[in-house]
């Protein structure tokens, strides 16, 4: 139920990754860590200190890191690579495509500072196309958890999944509102059942979707709220059931609208149950320097935009 989701405190999703990596390292001695000169930013210090022999500093050489990870996986290790989302995807797309995805290597590509919420570093670093690139690769799982707890749980869960995974998380402190320790790859979390409008969100914008849902519920509008941490494989059952209940959908993500979660949901609905849909995300633009909340507001990825699109989509029913 919606009222179960209350922000307790703020912690970054990358901190959740760091905590999860340490824990999965303790549980599974096949797990190895690789990082390209960003140990502190990726919060990989704890793992490195606990397992120095299973940690590899790669230097500023991401293409080599992806290849080395593929080699480690070939010999049975479970490599977790760490760098910013931009340098985890765009920088090394062909290395991932050939040596990891096509070769079906068990590499976990762990990508921090995704989206505009990395803030002041600006557009060179704010990748908004990574989910699109990764979800197009056959066999690649794409996971974009929404808070510290979900990121930590996802980091642990992916070790048990045999195959390449893209795990996307971010830089800023962010509300923590999901329960600890719960994560099932490919299984959406149904956060609230409703009949008027479906809101399907991923990553940081999941919290804004909760805020928007609270506003709508307070006005007597019943919201079906879906937490899609796994963009691929997409939980078709959960999405189709939600759309059947409400007859209209809003998707929300910190990513380009072209190529993101919204596109996957729209394709699913178009093929199975066409209904009105609105997209919250980056509208074919690069980001810029600024504070995370300023940028999310300027580029229409905030609670107000989710609310506006929810009202608009209901009017189209």
């Amino acid at each position: 139920m919606l009222s179960d989701y209350i922000a307790k405190d703020k912690k970054s999703t990358r901190d959740g990754f760091g905590a999860g990596l340490l824990e999965v390292g303790q549980k599974n001695d096949k797990v190895v860590g690789l990082c390209a000169d960003l140990i502190g930013s990726l919060k990989m210090n704890a793992f490195m200190d606990a397992f120095p022999e299973r940690f590899f500093q790669m230097g500023i050489a991401e293409a080599n890191m992806m290849g080395v990870a593929a080699g480690l996986a070939t010999s049975g290790q479970i490599p977790y690579t760490g760098t910013f989302a931009n340098f985890s995807t765009g920088r090394v797309f062909d290395q991932i495509r050939q040596s990891i995805a096509y070769s079906h290597k068990n590499v976990k590509i762990c990508a921090s500072h995704a989206g505009v919420t990395l803030g002041e570093d600006g557009a060179t670093h704010q990748i908004m196309e990574d989910v699109g690139m990764m979800k197009m690769l056959p066999g690649m799982a794409v996971i974009n958890p929404c808070d510290y707890n979900q990121t930590k749980a996802a980091t642990i869960a992916i070790a048990e999944y045999d195959g390449p995974v893209y795990l996307r998380f971010g830089r800023p402190g962010w509300p923590v509102f999901m329960p600890e320790g719960e994560f099932s790859i490919g299984k959406a979390v149904h956060m609230n059942e409703g009949k008027d409008v479906s809101i399907i969100a991923t990553g940081h914008l999941m919290w804004y979707a909760v805020e928007a849902a609270n506003v709508l519920e307070s006005e007597g509008i019943s919201v079906d709220l879906i937490n899609i941490h796994t963009i691929k494989p997409l939980d078709a059952t959960a999405i189709l059931a939600s759309a059947a209940r409400t007859g209209c959908v809003v998707t929300a993500e910190e990513h380009q609208i072209l190529g993101g979660l919204g596109g996957s949901v729209a394709q699913l609905l178009a093929a199975n149950n066409p209904c009105p849909i609105e997209f919250v995300g980056m509208d074919d633009s690069f980001g810029e320097s600024g504070k995370p909340d300023q940028l999310l507001a300027k580029y229409n990825m905030d609670t107000a935009t989710i609310l506006a699109k929810a009202r608009a989509v209901m009017a189209k029913k």
Binding site: C35, D37, L38, I39, G40, S41, Q57, M58, G59, I60, A61, A63, N64, N86, F87, R91, G119, E120, D121, G122, A123, T124, H125, F286, E288, S289, G290, K291, Q294, L295, K298
Partner: protein, 284 residues
């Protein structure tokens, strides 16, 4: 504005600008910026023939490319101080709706910037393209390209190094900010560069070494390189600098790669740097 003393005075103000930009934005990269303040001053106030009315194609001008884009504060300060845009604009660094993006960009039309950088390892390739174009256009001016030493770990740099030698890009002058540091520590601890001089040499470049925090030596090395163009061989200057130079609590430490000084640290740093050209105002 040509004596060594004059240049040193400019570099001092540039360092104040770096500290003040990064402090006011509460983010940015002071360490490498401070270390390279002498180089940027020498290039823009002495060595390069350039036109602050700014044409993208840089026809008939010496041109500069910043590959290690995170040291944008030093780039912005020198561009402003040499007349590309108002000095007051430095107060907008890293703020919303600014032309002074966290990493240099052409997207907002900031005069003086010809390519986006920030994702490391890409600048030397761009500089090769510009050098190639200058040759096609019978333009005899020089192209300078600054890279970080950590940045040299990127494979693309070495693709460009090979390309420049193969294509005899003798109008290209590479400069390495050889401060020995990067984010996670010393180059030697992260991923050793080995015999850096030997590497560039075997790739077919002429290599010189200089103290990058000694204005006189730096100007001499840059002017020498400029007069050595046209010999069929690209040149690189391995520039020994100190990250954070000369601020006593920053100098030599990788910890100041990308951290903003707080109020106290800013006051302390500014007290070590003479205000030689007048600080730009912070907005009220």
């Amino acid at each position: 504005m040509s004596s060594i003393k004059d240049l040193e005075l400019v570099a001092c103000q540039v360092r104040r600008d770096i500290i003040r930009q990064v402090h006011y934005a509460s983010s940015g990269h002071p360490g490498g910026s401070l270390g390279c303040a002498d180089l940027f001053t020498a290039l823009y106030f002495k060595v390069m023939e350039h036109d602050t009315s700014f044409q993208m194609d840089g026809k008939g001008e010496d041109m500069f490319f910043l590959s290690n884009g995170h040291i944008s504060p030093v780039f912005y300060s020198v561009l402003a101080r040499s007349g590309y845009f108002p000095v007051e604009e430095l107060a907008t660094f890293r703020k919303l709706d600014s032309r002074l993006q966290g990493h240099p960009a052409t997207h907002e039309g900031l005069p003086g910037v010809r390519i986006a950088s920030g994702s490391l390892g890409q600048g030397l390739s761009v500089a090769c393209g510009v050098a190639q174009a200058k040759k096609l256009n019978k333009d005899e001016k020089s192209i300078f390209c600054l890279m970080g030493d950590g940045e040299l770990q990127e494979g693309q740099i070495w693709e460009a190094v090979m390309y420049a030698a193969h294509n005899k890009l003798d109008n290209l002058i590479g400069i390495v900010d050889w401060n020995g540091r990067q984010i996670d520590g010393d180059n030697d601890d992260v991923l050793s560069l080995g015999d850096l001089k030997g590497k560039w040499k075997t790739f077919g470049w002429t290599v010189t070494e200089v103290d990058g925090n000694n204005m006189e030596a730096l100007v001499t090395a840059l002017l020498d390189a400029k007069s050595n163009t046209g010999n069929g061989v690209p040149q690189v200057i391995l520039m020994r600098t100190e990250m954070g130079h000369p601020i006593d609590f920053m100098v030599g430490s990788h910890k100041w790669h990308g951290v903003a000084p707080n109020v106290e640290q800013t006051e302390n740093a500014l007290a070590q740097l003479e205000e030689t050209m007048g600080d730009y105002p912070y907005p009220a």
